[in-house]
């Protein structure tokens, strides 16, 4: 399974979310490859799940994967629930 985290610049918030997703995956006992990129490169990186903050996520819906939209980037509970839900859909 591949998860791609996107943000506007591909340097700041996407990397910070990626770190938290890796922690969440350990807690969920799920193995997945997690990467981050900027919005314009996202289309070229085929993934099962695309993650972004709310304003970014609305632009990820055409990429063909499941989109996880985060309201609050530093809320680990929201992240864990939404990632778990997305993984369920793939299974």
């Amino acid at each position: 399974m591949k998860i791609l985290v996107c943000c506007g610049s591909g340097l700041g918030s996407s990397f910070m979310i990626e770190m938290n997703i890796k922690k969440v995956l350990v807690e969920l006992g799920v193995e997945a490859e997690v990467n981050h990129s900027d919005l314009s490169s996202a289309a070229g990186i085929k993934s099962d799940i695309y993650v972004g903050t709310r304003d970014i996520a609305s632009q990820l819906t055409s990429l063909g994967g499941i989109v996880v939209s985060l309201n609050n980037m530093i809320d680990k509970k929201e992240l864990k629930e939404k990632i778990a839900e997305a993984i369920e859909k793939i299974k």
Binding site: L11, G12, S13, M19, G52, I74
Partner: protein, 145 residues
Amino acid sequence: MLANYIDERCIRTNVNCKNWQDAIRAGADLLLQAVCIEPRYIEAIIRHHRELPYMVIAPGIMLAHARSEEGALAVGISIITLAEPIIFGSELNDPVKLVITLATTDGEKHMELLASLMEFLMKEELVGRLMAAKDVAEAVTIIKS
């Protein structure tokens, strides 16, 4: 920890700003003085935010940054709290009270800074106290705790 990456000269509390552009300039100006960015980096942040207000990452928190090639000279971070919360045009996370400005050059130091920033931001109680800090000394104490 975050305290290892931030210079006290890059912290201001209760800054008076008229609007979001003003608030972005106030935070970025500290990095300009610290020679972490060129002036064009500030204009790039404002342009990105105008296109999409995605940098308001959590309730009350703006993580202002542009791309490294848009005028970042070194890894740096500044933190300002606003005297009055300001509307940044974020649907869910307005108004903003805390503006964190990052200068990002790619590489390991940048990654370590982001990791320690994330660690700090997830301590909700500390972030609340930082937003309410009366002066720079108090803000520094909170960041170091």
